[in-house]
């Protein structure tokens, strides 16, 4: 078994957060969460239902593109995943642009369904492999979807965790801040502090544990059947991850 990749650590970390759930949906541009959901399904013995957007064979939904959103609003989706060009310390995410949105320095695809699903899915797991002051910022330039809401705003869902290429944060709903949960191999608390643009809590301080690295069995699943399944939607990701020498 060759060396464990950062993506594989992220996949395993996310898969663990899906244990015991009934139905997980995965949106666009989400190969790492997609792989994690498929791994979690394997580990569940098939009891976890996974809805992969963009998959053509075996559709989960038969009522058109709106069904994902309706299904979430019905409370039938337990977890979803959102990325962000920028993510800030209040778990706001930015999928739109850097700088003034009318004269952006950089423009990204757009908000997709984030502004809705972030409110309605109980366990939204944020992911961003690049962990740097550029991606994890004090305040996003554009709020595609806010991390927290006023108490009178209908919001059964919200942020649950943030998984990066360096660590895992929990989101503390009460304090409206991230709390460092575990460090990926070779990362130190100082690394995280230096590379993170927002303030976060570190309840375990120096005792913050390492992120569990996927064992051989998990790696074989990720690189074998999971990789084959994810290839239908993300051929380039699969090629980069699994076909490299």
């Amino acid at each position: 078994m060759s060396g464990v990749r950062t993506e594989e650590i992220m996949i395993a970390a996310i898969a663990r957060m899906l244990s015991g759930l009934s139905h997980v949906a995965v949106g666009s541009a989400s190969p790492i969460p997609g792989s994690a959901a498929l791994l979690a399904r394997k580990l569940s013995g098939g009891s976890l239902r996974v809805s992969l957007l963009g998959r053509i064979s075996n559709p989960t939904f038969t009522d058109g593109a709106r069904e994902l959103f309706d299904c979430a609003a019905q409370g039938r989706i337990d977890a979803f995943f959102l990325g962000g060009a920028q993510i800030d310390g209040q778990a706001n995410i930015n999928l739109v642009s850097i700088g003034d949105p009318d004269r952006p320095k950089a423009r990204f695809p757009g908000s997709f369904g984030s502004a809705y699903l972030y409110f309605l899915v109980p366990r939204v797991i944020l992911f961003r492999q690049e962990h740097s002051p550029r991606s994890l910022v004090p305040k996003v330039d554009y709020i595609s979807a806010p991390g927290v809401s006023e108490p009178n705003v209908y919001r059964p869902g919200g942020p649950y965790a943030l998984v990066t290429g360096r660590c895992v944060f929990d989101f503390d709903k009460k304090n409206r801040r991230f709390a460092l949960k575990s460090l990926h191999p070779d990362e130190t608390l100082e690394d995280i502090e230096r590379e993170t643009g927002f303030e976060f809590d570190c309840p375990q301080g120096k005792a913050t544990p390492g992120t569990e690295v996927p064992d051989t069995e998990w790696l074989e699943l990720i690189r074998g059947p999971i990789g084959d399944e994810i290839r239908e939607i993300y051929p380039d990701f699969a090629a980069k991850m699994f076909d490299a020498t």
Binding site: G54, G110, G113, Y116
Partner: protein, 273 residues
């Protein structure tokens, strides 16, 4: 009655300049040959609606100067990265961009489908999407107590354009599970469709095909266009031509490269056959 036209170019000729045109995402069949025909006929001032997002077809139309305005939840080439002509056009303020979110597009089209002036939608509050939309309102749920909810005005596209595996001679279109295409046809004033084949049997008369069929009642005109979605795919018929799309993504990084692409692959007809 649905007009059965001769070619994707005749479809493009039927779509007027200046309209609000609803287009599907890349996973529903896109009428790429008709989109190329729109570029060939130098379509102007189109306002595009991504239902709820789109990629290659929007980038092509934007790059070719056919578009003044875009409302969509995203423009992306998927794994191939950003849509370069879209990105440039926003940065250079060549198009007016109205950012939105997928379910807001679906809801606003369903309002139109139902002849309603608006639809309410959960979520959204506190996002910059809402903050920057002066055509949306936030008001109280009339059945709630201090329960704000977003009100979205209906969107009624002047036309929609998409591709499908087959139609019949009565204008019925088989879309399978891609029911967002049905909402688009219901909600739009006109619907233009290209198809891989036109069959003689009535798709509504067969209980196996009827459930995945849009009745011809909603279809303004259709035309046969073999491999009409290329270089995008049609489920169960042919896959995306990922190599060609990579080629596009590279060429379209610059205006010159994009123009060369258009010259080679669009102006002189599609050369995929």
């Amino acid at each position: 009655m649905t007009d059965i036209l001769k070619s994707a170019d005749e479809i493009a000729a039927s779509i007027p300049d200046g309209i609000l045109l609803a287009l599907p995402p890349e996973y529903a069949p896109c009428a790429m040959e008709a989109v190329r025909a729109l570029v060939r006929r130098n379509a102007k001032d189109l306002r595009l609606l991504g239902v709820p997002q789109f990629g290659f077809q929007a980038d092509l139309l934007i790059g070719a100067g056919c578009v003044t305005e875009v409302e969509t939840a995203a423009v992306t080439l998927g794994e191939l990265g950003l849509a370069p002509r879209f990105t440039d056009a926003v940065k250079l303020q060549k198009i007016a961009m109205r950012d939105t979110t997928c379910p807001a597009i679906h809801a606003a089209l369903q309002a139109s489908e139902k002849g309603l002036p608006f639809m309410p939608l959960r979520g959204l509050i506190g996002s910059d999407i809402v903050a920057r939309r002066d055509d949306w309102q936030i008001a109280d749920n009339p059945f709630g107590d201090n329960d704000p909810i977003v009100y979205l005005p209906a969107i009624r596209p002047d036309a929609t354009l998409f591709h499908a595996a087959k139609a019949d001679i009565y204008g019925n279109i088989w879309i399978g599970v891609r029911r967002e295409l049905m909402v688009m046809a219901h909600a739009s004033a006109a619907a233009y469709v290209t198809v891989e084949e036109i069959v003689e049997t009535d798709l509504l008369a067969d209980p196996q095909t009827a459930p995945g069929t849009i009745p011809g009642l909603y279809i303004t005109a259709l035309a046969k266009a073999r491999k009409g979605a290329w270089p995008l795919g049609v489920p169960d018929l042919y896959e995306r031509d990922q190599e060609h799309l990579k080629h596009y993504a590279e060429k379209a990084r610059s205006v010159e490269g994009f123009d060369a692409y258009i010259e080679q692959w669009v102006r002189h007809g599609s050369q995929h056959a």
